[in-house]
């Protein structure tokens, strides 16, 4: 039997950038197919070709053995292809239900939209995913994880024959991931083909029957899952070995740098207190929506809080003042790099030096030389793959954008570094590098607070694990006692480990 969907000799260039070169891929019925590759390998480009967003320069698509020409997202949908994009694509002003059904709402008399049916179907979808979201609330204000869940519901709603998932789990934590998996398996068992992209190998191996590797836009290999090992895959992806996964060095814990006392923001989190010392990496773990992002945003002064105080090196920070936070030595790498981390139209160099404008200027006068030199140093240190540092940062791949955000903040040489999902959407090589960097920083005496939904990362990197559950700090677990079970128990609000 012919594969359900077959790509043959597909190439795609943006100008002279060859994002894909002569790629072959076949998806079978009742199969979950993994796709892995470094940042910028061309995975999302492949997804967009399947979605009808980009037309391939060369090569063909075949559905059920007959040629398929897609001229737009609508025709991909018509062909039974549903896509979860890497970046959430929601409409903040519309209700969650409308977000799921936009453009193909159930219609009633006179082709009028049947809102009742739409709401009921949304509720069914959410029940399948075990999501607790109100179908009528607007999408505005959803956390990234919730947004991702809505995207998944949207893809499910198609009853598609082919479901493409571009890093759907990058914002999800254990419980949601597990639910997504069971949904994906149900889809597979019903005969659909699923293309699953992730940088997390445990997920790939747990879910997929076959795995395809892309490198630099080229097809490298496709294997049965049980025929390859992680090491082999990594070598194919990066073309070399990665020395160590979690290069955590033991650091000497120094004096308290950041103290948070009784921090409360009504409706988001309450009475959060913790202390971070120089030289330690503290992970802030919890389930999606536990309020971790909101806590560190409040600490940094992005959002206001209702009660409590934040002290850096014993001095109280004025609330709601990011400038003061930065000059006190705080840095925040946000989780949503597109929205909050980067100035897209501005050059990579400018982005890299943005928080340090003052130190790089003389009497407020910015001179290009110092700016560019410093930018180059940091771009090299994090191996940012950028054509020119003067190109707009929007021309970089997702992972490289993340590196720019990270470099930008590392370059301020902060005393306290807060990173929110630092390796979200980052490939395995860079991930190790980021981990190494964090470890190095801690060794240099920086206090690091890391929000992460990836349990291995939390357990591998943290000297201490703080666990939040529904806006409250539930546990403070030292490295020695931290394991999957203790963290999960606290995260679900069951164990009171400390």
């Amino acid at each position: 039997m012919a594969p359900l969907l077959e790509l043959t000799g597909v190439s795609k260039s943006f100008g002279a950038v060859a994002a894909l070169r002569d790629v072959h891929l076949d998806l079978h019925r009742a199969e979950i197919h993994g796709l892995v590759g470094e940042n910028g390998a061309g995975k999302s480009t492949l997804v967009k070709i399947l979605a009808g967003v980009h037309a391939p320069d060369q090569g063909t698509l075949a559905l059920d053995g007959s040629e398929l020409v897609l001229n737009g997202p609508a025709s991909a949908r018509a062909a039974g292809i549903a896509v979860i994009y890497q970046e959430p694509t929601l409409f903040p002003d519309l209700s969650v239900a409308e977000n799921i059904f936009i453009g193909r709402q159930p219609l009633g008399v006179l082709r009028r939209i049947d809102t009742g049916a739409m709401r009921a179907r949304t509720r069914d979808l959410f029940a399948r995913l075990g999501v607790q979201l109100d179908p009528d609330r607007p999408a505005r204000g959803l956390s990234i994880a919730d947004q991702q869940l809505v995207e998944i519901a949207k893809a499910l709603s198609f009853d598609a024959r082919i479901v493409v998932m571009d890093e759907p789990t990058s914002a999800l934590s254990g419980a949601e991931v597990e639910r997504l998996f069971s949904v994906a398996r149900t889809l597979r068992d019903a005969g659909a083909a699923v293309l699953f992209i992730s940088h997390r190998f445990d997920e790939i191996f747990a879910l997929c029957q076959r795995i395809t590797v892309l490198r630099d836009g080229r097809w490298i290999s496709t294997d049965q899952t049980d025929a390859v090992t992680i090491e082999q895959l990594v070598r194919r992806m990066v073309g070399r070995d990665i020395s160590s996964m979690y290069p955590k060095t033991d650091a000497t814990v120094g004096k308290a740098r950041l103290e948070v006392r009784g921090l409360t923001r009504h409706g988001s989190f309450s009475d959060v207190s913790f202390t971070i010392h120089s030289g330690e990496i503290v992970a802030l773990a919890g389930l999606v929506g536990a309020g971790r992002t909101e806590v560190i945003r409040a600490v940094f002064g992005v959002d206001r809080f209702d009660a409590g105080e934040v002290l850096v090196d014993g001095r109280r920070l004025p609330p709601g003042d990011t400038t003061a936070a930065i000059s006190a030595g705080l840095a925040l790498v946000p989780e949503d790099r597109r929205e909050q981390g980067l100035v897209m139209e501005v050059s990579v160099a400018r982005n890299l030096t943005l928080p340090r404008r003052w130190s790089l200027s003389r009497l407020g006068l910015l001179l290009g030389g110092a700016e560019n030199r410093s930018a180059r140093t940091w771009a090299d240190r994090l191996r940012v793959k950028a054509g020119r540092l003067t190109n707009p940062v929007s021309t970089l791949s997702g992972g490289n954008q993340q590196k720019v955000v990270l470099a930008k903040w590392l370059s301020t040489r902060p005393g306290v570094l807060m990173v929110d999902e630092p390796t979200r959407g980052i490939d395995v090589a860079t991930k190790a590098e980021v981990h190494g960097l964090l470890s190095q920083l801690a060794a240099d005496g920086v206090a690091v607070l890391m929000v992460s939904s990836e349990l291995p990362e939390v357990l591998g990197m943290a000297d201490r694990v703080l666990v939040m559950h529904e806006g409250r700090l539930m546990a403070d677990i030292p490295r020695a006692r931290a394991d999957e079970e203790s963290v999960m128990l606290a995260a679900t609000g069951q164990g009171n480990a400390s």
Partner: protein, 351 residues
């Protein structure tokens, strides 16, 4: 994992949907209610000062005065909701009004529906120019329609030259349409506005292509990915706005009877003011045509009420400005409350 099955034991999502819908809906209702209340307050206070402000004649004048602005505001809302703006409406109105006059000069016995259709088609053609430039060239609508504002007005100027078309050149039946009322106080012209308003309102909330406009205004690139034909919808929105401006031009001719190249000059800012006062978000995604229409009535009523209230006429403009700023304040307060509510609701689940 054990922990996860444990999680599952939590009560599955309870049917809070109605509550969420209620909050959001209430916020919108409050928004539109706010401006309806402001309007009611203005009318009541003015009528208390001078009861004749509520006479049939006076109400008729108010409705007549609001009609044209309201029709333009409905068209503008359709465009604004899709994160665009149409600055050229005043010029299109002027062009259509002058075309109406010229048609009657050329053949005085033309039936009124034909002239209405001609005006609407001319407006739609202007709108198509705007829409094509915005959708194809992907240039901000503010810039495109600023350009066509000048171009359409320039065409109007050079067509009209120094000419003026007067009431004597137009058939009496047509002019009567512009000034008579049915049922005592409801002028014919206002019926046009009501029909336009209801059709547009239902379209925007009941029909899939209407909802598409909100989606586009909310997140244009996501709309594209969702398979919405963004270009076509935006184009259509501009065509509709142009067509309504054309209709408004014909009605302008019927109402004022005197036409030169300056009809509707500078109207664009008043229209946008009405839309904003009516609670339509200027960067798209939310707002209703009903709000915009009430906004238009409110702005017109202020103009009529101030002299009755004995307020120095110099303050009229300042009052319009103050109203816009008040609308801003109201929007702020409401959206802050909405955001807080949404947060608390989730919080409620956890507490």
């Amino acid at each position: 994992m054990a922990a996860q099955t444990a999680l599952r034991t939590e009560p599955a999502t309870p049917a809070r949907s109605t509550a969420g819908a209620r909050i959001v809906r209430r916020a919108f209702v409050v928004r539109e209610l706010g401006i309806v209340l402001a309007l009611a307050l203005l009318v009541v206070v003015t009528a208390a000062v001078n009861p004749r402000f509520l006479s049939a004649q006076s109400i008729k004048d108010l409705l007549l005065g609001s009609t044209i602005l309201a029709i333009l505001a409905v068209g503008q809302t359709i465009v604004v909701v899709s994160r665009n703006v149409d600055l050229s409406v005043g010029s299109v109105l002027g062009l259509a009004a002058f075309a109406t006059g010229s048609l009657f000069v050329a053949s005085p016995n033309l039936p009124i529906p034909v002239v209405l259709l001609a005006g609407v088609l001319l407006g739609a053609a202007c709108g198509a120019v705007n829409g094509a430039l915005v959708a194809a060239a992907r240039v901000p609508a503010l810039v495109v329609t600023l350009g066509t504002l000048y171009v359409f007005r320039g065409i109007d100027y050079s067509w009209a030259g120094g000419r003026q078309i007067n009431a004597a050149n137009m058939p009496a039946g047509f002019l009567r349409m512009g000034s008579t009322a049915i049922l005592g106080a409801v002028p014919y012209l206002a019926l046009f506005a009501v029909v336009v308003l209801v059709v547009a309102g239902l379209y925007l909330s009941w029909y899939s292509s209407g909802r598409d406009l909100y989606a586009i205004g909310s997140n244009p690139s996501a709309a594209h990915l969702a398979g919405i034909p963004v270009g076509r919808r935006v184009f259509a929105a501009f065509v509709v706005s142009g067509a309504l401006a054309g209709l408004a031009g014909v009605l302008h001719a019927a109402r004022f009877g005197t036409l030169d190249a300056n009809a509707g000059l500078g109207n664009e800012l008043d229209v946008i003011a009405a839309v904003v006062v009516g609670g339509v978000a200027i960067f798209g995604g939310s707002g209703s045509v009903y709000g915009a229409a009430v906004g238009a009535v409110l702005l017109t009523t202020i103009g009529s009420a101030l002299p009755v209230l004995g307020v120095d006429p110099f303050w009229q403009r300042a009052a319009v400005g103050a109203l816009i700023l008040a609308a801003i304040g109201l929007d702020r307060a409401l959206s802050a409350r909405l955001a807080r509510r949404l947060r608390t609701r989730r919080g409620g689940r956890r507490a």
